[in-house]
Amino acid sequence: MKKLFPRLLYLLRWSRQAADLREEIETHRALRQDALERDGLGAEDAAHASRRAIGSIPLAIEDSREVWAIRALDHTRQDVRDAVRGLRKSPGFALVIVATLALGIGANTALFSIFNSLIMRPLPVRDPGSLALLRDGSWSYPVWQEINARADDLFDGAVSWSDQTFDLTQGGRTVPVDGAYVSGRFFDVLGVPAFRGRMLTAADDSGAPPKGPVAVVSHRVWRQLFGSADDIVGRQLTVLIQRQRFPFTVVGVMPPDFSGVAVGRVADVVLPFAAEPLLEGRDSALPKTGRSWLEIMIRLKPGQTIDHANARLRRVQSQIRDAVLPGLRGSPAFAARYLTDPLTLAPAATGASRLRREFGSPLFAMVVAVGLVLLVACANLASLLLARALARREELSVRLALGGTRWRLARLLFLESFLVAMIGAALGLVFAKWGSALLVRQLGTWERTVSLDLALDWRVLAFTATLACLCAISAGVAPMFAVKSVAPGEALKSAGRAMAGDRRFAVRGALVVAQIAVSFVLVIAAGLFLRTFASLSQLPLGFVPEPLVVVDVNLFASGIPPEERGARVERLRDAAAAVSGVRSVSVSQMRLLTGGGWATNNRVAVGDGPMLPEDRRYRVWRNATTPGWFDTMGIRLRGGRDFTERDRIGGPPVAIVNEAFVRRYLSGEQPIGQRLRVDSDDGPRFEIVGVAADAVYTTPRDGMLPTMYVPLAQREPQEWNSWRNVILTMKAVPGQRARVERDVAMALTQADPTLVFRSGTFDQMLVATMTRERLVAMMSGFFGALALLLAGLGLYGMVVQAVTARRTEIGLRMALGAEPTRIVRLVFRRLGALIVIGLALGLAGSWWAARFVAPLLFQVQARDPMTFSGTAAVLIAVGLIAAWVPARRAASLDPATVLREG
């Protein structure tokens, strides 16, 4: 095989080489003709004689080609032809294998491509390996300013950003888009070049940008909102905030592969931090030391290690702290703790992603699970191919007898499995493309759009190719055992007279054991995740969601001045109340089950007591409601009264708290009549007029949290200014929710044609809080079932074959008087052993692997005895069913027929 390359090169240009040779030989002949003429022959005779002497030119050329040709290559081509022919002879078999592999490889590739883009792929920026993220969580703008001032000295620059949602207005329509505020040198430090125009600069992020506020848009926005306009630079982009329109000048378009540093979230519109005070006015977060809302990333100097960078950063930490501390209002206790934990940088070549934190480990678990499913599928394939090779013993032995080498036979069989693996992989890629997009859509909820770049990069392709090769090898090696036991002369003897016990079945037995063990692990995982999902779904909500319809009204979108918004909400409420089938309508400021909301971090003072220090661990959630909200929601009042129409601005500020609140802040005291201050000492003193039963505020997983309610009518008019949304909650007559939802939407549109709103039910919102668990439960359930099915099929196939091979023996035994039950027992005895070994291995594996899934579980033990025993029972049942059918058939054989045939 030496000099393969020159050979191939030569052979590829064979037609030219042949022409050259022909010309060369013709010159040769002409020279000879000249010589003959010189010897005195006539021109005619000389030409004739020279031609005769030359002999066969094609032969000379063919011989020359032989010099370069590669025999092995020719053989391989021939084998491929044989393999294709062999597969086409049994299309059903080929189809089953290709489909199994396409599904297996496809599912693996789909998950891996998500895994890859979410977790593995480096950011498309210059030298992503030198990026490091300041951990953990978010930072305030003053802190960023201090770090930025030192960034070029300590590191090779730093960037900061904050994910935002902006409302763009486009021809009267309001489109919410995901975007970000970034530091001026964001693109510069990251090394992201402009696709069109220019990226932001430090000047854009200074107090007063020379040519007014500017923005950079993503490639996608440029395509979709601006129709890929060539004159994009200089165009206006209108951002709507608090009903005011702020024009931004587009200065550039980001490259197509870059959409921010937060993986899974696209930053479609990027504004400099300097734009934030412009949009937020006096609510600007820039000067606030206490607001942590941005993330910071640095670039290491060439050769700088992360430890070195950490050491340098910590050396200046006290300076940073001293610089920002004066801006920190609040308790001295909080100030004392502020920024005292050592600042820590962590490598961030792949960016930062909330999505990754949420889905990283479940995704990894699913990648492992789907890999195991493929393993089970491969075992099935190996089994099938082995069976097929055994069935082809006659053909193989004829080939051997005719002089084929065993190596050549093995190669032929291997090539068959290789071929199907490759076809399977190719189809799998198509399937993966579709499947991964489908899965990514599942990651999103009705309020969060997830976009991942699922391009098939080299990692994914390498992964798929490796999988396909592993499948081909693992499935292709098994038939070689068959080749080993084929004897050249066997075709001449009559085959198929096997009696008891055959070494050939040992391989299949081992495969079946492996399948049972792996399926066991997968079914356990499915059981655990399903139970997790079930226990999450069964958590008490504290309110009655079934009759409720929720409408989320965007107050900003249609441009009504803040002072009129209260009246407008009243109008909408009346419109909704007039719909038939609506029992009651209430308005609240916050929607439940968003995972977050309006809260204060433990800043509560009871009576004349001290204001408690800020503490994120003890949040008090807040909401503002209209009278009747508790009744609509189905939350019971444990004491006191609900808000009334008299609780308006001007009246004494009142509040209702829930039982969890009473437990944390008012233990042992009579809550009604107590006075509360929240957030600051100079705010209103709320009188507690009622105690409500606990209800879930963030997510069911978080449980019942201290909550404080105030009347919506007591919110100051200027506060309407900063609320984007209000929530209308309707209680529908039982069984009419769907109709009510539709009719309310119509009534609202009629009452206010410009209204922007979104309606839904608590079921949908509940689903959104459990996206992760639902997805994991769904997928592991699917994989578990698939593995079970495959293992069952494998088992069945093996038993059928074993019974067929022992037909003669069984017939003989029956002829000698064995009862049918004894025959069944005969079949089962061996099988029982396989199942028991498989279960034992699976049990050990699951026991060991349990600790890895423990963090993903909720209210279920990782070694939950019920799941373990249930899984064992399921697998035994599957095994028995898979064996029972062929065993029954064996027992009903007619001995006479068998013996006559055999």
Binding site: K3, P6, R7, Y10, D20, L21, E23, E24, I25, E26, T27, H28, R29, A30, L31, R32, D34, A35, A49, A53, I54, G55, S56, I57, L59, A60, I61, D63, S64, E66, V67, W68
Partner: protein, 112 residues
């Protein structure tokens, strides 16, 4: 007219050896090689094209000779073969091997 000698009339590899030796004198085209062999062997070795060209291809493949297109004395395009350094080394080795073979054959023939 016994113009051609089939390769089987020679010991295997001998033709290549002879071609390499011929090329020591400088670049030649196929016909030149044949003529050289015929003349120096006093009309004993008459090499046919169907043997010559595959042999040349073998030498090319092994990198022992290289070929360049030139113009022949009758003004046609002809491929001229030159010995490479590797070819020179190969010539020495094959020559020694050939001598060993001939010696062995003669010893066999010498015994009665």
């Amino acid at each position: 007219m016994g113009l051609t000698n089939t390769p089987s009339d020679l010991l295997p590899g001998t033709l290549e050896l002879l071609i390499l030796k011929t090329l020591v004198g400088g670049a030649r085209h196929g016909y030149g090689i044949v003529e050289h062999l015929r003349l120096t062997s006093e009309d004993v070795l008459r090499v046919g094209e169907s043997a010559l060209y595959p042999a040349l291809q073998r030498l090319l493949f092994n990198g022992w000779v290289k070929a360049e297109w030139g113009t022949s004395e009758n003004n046609r395009r002809a491929r001229y073969y030159t010995l490479t350094a590797a070819g020179r080394k190969q010539l020495a080795a094959e020559r020694a091997e050939f001598n060993r073979m001939i010696g062995a054959i003669q010893r066999v023939l010498g015994t009665t």
